[in-house]
C-alpha cells in the first residue's frame, strides 16, 4: 500500500502522461522521422526502374567505391590511434593527461568546413607544403589523399572517446595478472585487453564508420568535385541535387539513409545485448 501511495504522489496523472507522450511522439515523428520518410518517398517517386538506374549509373558507382575506400583507410587509422591513446590514458598516470583528453575531442567542435580548410592551407597549391608537393608531383588536395585526411580529422575522436572511459573502468588489474603469469605484452593485449573491450571497440568503429561514409562539409572543401574521380556519395547527392535531378539525388541519398538505419540498428543491438561491455554512459 505504501509503495502504491509513493507512486501516486511522485508521478503524473494518466491524462498528463498521455499528453506528454503524445507531444514527444509528435516532436520525434515530425522532426526526425518525417525527413527520413521523405528521402525514400522522393527516391521512389518515379518507380523502382528509375531508382535503380540512378543508383547503378557509373558515376554513382564510382562515388560508392570512393566512399568505401576512404572509410576503409580512415577508420583503421583512427582505430589504431584510439587504441594507443586509450591504452596510454587508461592504464597509466601522467602529467597533462586531462589536457590530452580534451584535445582528442577538439575535432568535434571544429566546423567541418574548417576541417577541410586546414588541409588546403597546408597541402593546397598555395599552402605551406604546396610548392614542395608540386615539385615532387604529389597530389593531396583535390585528390583522394586530401579526402582521406579530412575524413580522418572529422572522425578522429570516435574510437578513442569510446575506449577511454571503458578501459578506465576496467583498470589494469587483469593485464598485471597476465603479465605476472609470464604472458608477453602483445599476448596480454590480444588475449586479455582486446576481448574485454571488443564490444566498446565495435561501438566506436560503427559510429566512426557512419561519419566517415557520410561526411560532407570537410570532404566538399578538399575534393574538387571531379565526377567519377573525387566524388564521394554525399558529394554526388549534392551534384545531382544542384542539377535538379531530384529523383537521382534522393535515390543516392537513400543509400546513405539505409547506412544510417543499419548503423542505428547495430548500435541499439549493442546497447541492448552487450550493455555491460560498453562504457557506462551507454547503459540505458
Amino acid at each position: 500500500m505504501s509503495s502504491l501511495l509513493a507512486q501516486d504522489v511522485a508521478s503524473e496523472t494518466r491524462g498528463v502522461r498521455a499528453v506528454l507522450i503524445a507531444l514527444a511522439l509528435v516532436v520525434l515523428l515530425l522532426v526526425l522521422l518525417l525527413p527520413l520518410v521523405a528521402v525514400f518517398y522522393e527516391a521512389l517517386r518515379q518507380g523502382f526502374a528509375e531508382y535503380f538506374a540512378a543508383v547503378l549509373e557509373p558515376d554513382a558507382r564510382a562515388a560508392f567505391a570512393l566512399t568505401l575506400t576512404v572509410a576503409a583507410i580512415a577508420v583503421p587509422l583512427n582505430l589504431l590511434f584510439g587504441l594507443a591513446a586509450a591504452w596510454a590514458i587508461a592504464k597509466y598516470e601522467f602529467r597533462f593527461k586531462n589536457v590530452l583528453i580534451t584535445l582528442i575531442d577538439v575535432p568535434f567542435s571544429v566546423s567541418p568546413v574548417i576541417a577541410g580548410l586546414i588541409y588546403v592551407l597546408l597541402y593546397g597549391a598555395h599552402g605551406w607544403f604546396g610548392p614542395w608537393l608540386q615539385e615532387h608531383d604529389i597530389e593531396i588536395i583535390f585528390a583522394v589523399p586530401g579526402i582521406v585526411l579530412a575524413t580522418t580529422f572529422v572522425t578522429f575522436p570516435f574510437v578513442a572517446r569510446e575506449l577511454i572511459p571503458l578501459m578506465q573502468e576496467q583498470g589494469r588489474h587483469m593485464e598485471e595478472v597476465a603479465l605476472s603469469l609470464g604472458a608477453s605484452g602483445w599476448t596480454t593485449f590480444f588475449r586479455v585487453t582486446l576481448p574485454n573491450i571488443r564490444w566498446g571497440l565495435l561501438y566506436g568503429v560503427l559510429l566512426c564508420n557512419a561519419r566517415a561514409m557520410g561526411e560532407f562539409g570537410a570532404v566538399s572543401v578538399v575534393s574538387g568535385h571531379i565526377r567519377g574521380e573525387t566524388n564521394t556519395l554525399p558529394l554526388h547527392v549534392e551534384i545531382l541535387y544542384n542539377e535538379y535531378n531530384f529523383v537521382a539525388a534522393f535515390a543516392v541519398a537513400s543509400l546513405l539513409a539505409l547506412l544510417a538505419l543499419l548503423t542505428l540498428a547495430i548500435k541499439s543491438f549493442l546497447e541492448w545485448r552487450h550493455a555491460d561491455a560498453l562504457a557506462a554512459s551507454h547503459r540505458h
Binding site: A6, S11, E12, R17, L20, I21, L23, A24, V27, V31, L32, L34, P35, L36, A38, V39, L80, F81, A84, A85, W87, A88, Y92, F94, L103, V106, P107, S109, V110, S111, P112, V113, I114, L117, I118, V120, L121, L122, H126, G127, L149, R172, E176, L179, G185, L207, G214, F216, P234, V237, Y241, F250, A253, L256, A260, T263, L264, K267, S268, H284
Partner: protein, 279 residues
C-alpha cells in the same frame, strides 16, 4: 637527478602508445589547426580584421550564432520533453523511439539537408500547409534554425537522459508529501538537478550548430547578408583562392568554438560535482 627515481612499470607499451598518440594527433589535428592561425595572421592583423569583421562576415556570424542559439534554446524544451517521456514512461514503441533519437547523428548531413528542403519548400509536405499561413521556412533564416534543430536534438536528449534516469525518486516524493504539485516539483526539484546536464547538452548542440554546413546550405538559400552562414563564407573565400580571407573567418569561428568547448568542460566538471561523482 637522483631524486627522480623511475620505477619500471610491469605493464609495457606506455611510451610507444603515448608517443604514437601524440605524433598522430600532431599530424592530423594540431599542426593543421596551427596553420589556420598562422595563415590568418600571416600578413599581420590588418587583413584579418578587414575580412573577419567585414559587413558580410558579421552578417554571416549573426546568422550562424543566432540560429544556433535559437535552435539550441528550442531544443532545450523539446529535448527535456523527449528525455522525460523516454525515461519515465513505458509505452509500446518506446525503444524504437529511443533509437530514433540518434538518427541525426547517423544520417549524413547532406541527406538531412535535401530531405528538410523537400519537406519545407512551398510545395513540400509541410511547406504547402505553412505557406497559406504566411510562414516561409525554406530559403529563409527560419530554415537554418529548422536544420539546426534537427542536428542538435540528440545532443540535448542524450545528455539529459542518463541524469534523469539516475535521479532518486525520494526527493520527488518528499516534495509531494510537503504539498508540492508535480509542476512545482519539476520546476523546483527536478529542473535544478538536471540543470548542469541540460546546459551541457544545449552548449553541445550550439557548438555543433555554429559550424554545421551540410544540412544547412540546401535549405538556407545562401543569399549574402541574409541567409549566408559563416562556414559557407569560408567556402566562398576558398573558391576565390583568398586563403587569408578564409583563414580569417575560420580564426574567428575557432576562437568561439574553443571558448564553448572550455565552457562545456567547466559545465561537465560542475555537473559531476553536483551529482556527487555519480556521473
Amino acid at each position: 637527478m637522483a631524486a627522480v627515481r623511475v620505477q619500471r612499470d610491469i605493464l609495457p607499451g606506455f611510451h610507444w602508445a603515448l608517443g604514437y598518440s601524440l605524433l598522430w594527433m600532431g599530424v592530423i589535428v594540431i599542426l593543421p589547426l596551427i596553420a589556420v592561425f598562422a595563415r590568418g595572421l600571416a600578413d599581420g592583423i590588418e587583413p584579418l580584421v578587414r575580412v573577419a569583421l567585414s559587413e558580410r562576415a558579421i552578417a554571416a556570424y549573426k546568422l550562424s550564432f543566432g540560429a544556433a542559439a535559437l535552435a539550441a534554446l528550442i531544443n532545450s524544451v523539446l529535448g527535456v520533453l523527449v528525455a522525460w517521456v523516454l525515461v519515465r514512461y513505458r509505452f509500446p514503441g518506446r525503444q524504437l523511439l529511443d533509437a530514433l533519437v540518434d538518427l541525426p547523428i547517423a544520417l549524413p548531413t547532406a541527406v538531412a539537408g535535401i530531405a528538410l528542403t523537400a519537406l519545407y519548400a512551398s510545395n513540400g509536405w509541410i511547406g504547402q500547409w505553412l505557406e497559406p499561413l504566411g510562414i516561409k521556412l525554406a530559403f529563409t533564416p527560419g530554415g537554418v534554425v529548422l536544420a539546426l534543430m534537427f542536428i542538435g536534438l540528440p545532443f540535448v536528449v542524450r545528455t539529459v537522459q542518463p541524469v534523469l534516469a539516475d535521479l532518486g525518486r525520494s526527493v520527488e516524493e518528499a516534495a509531494a508529501t510537503l504539498g508540492a504539485g508535480r509542476w512545482l516539483t519539476f520546476r523546483r526539484v527536478i529542473l535544478p538537478a538536471i540543470g548542469p546536464a541540460l546546459l551541457t547538452g544545449v552548449a553541445l548542440a550550439f557548438a555543433r550548430g555554429v559550424g554545421e554546413y551540410g544540412s544547412v546550405i540546401f535549405i538556407a538559400g545562401n543569399m549574402p547578408y541574409q541567409t549566408e552562414i559563416a562556414p559557407l563564407l569560408i567556402v566562398i573565400q576558398l573558391e576565390q583562392y583568398d586563403y587569408v580571407g578564409a583563414a580569417a573567418i575560420a580564426v574567428v569561428m575557432l576562437v568561439v568554438s574553443f571558448a564553448v568547448l572550455l565552457a562545456i568542460n567547466l559545465l561537465q566538471g560542475w555537473a559531476r560535482r553536483r551529482m556527487g561523482g555519480r556521473l
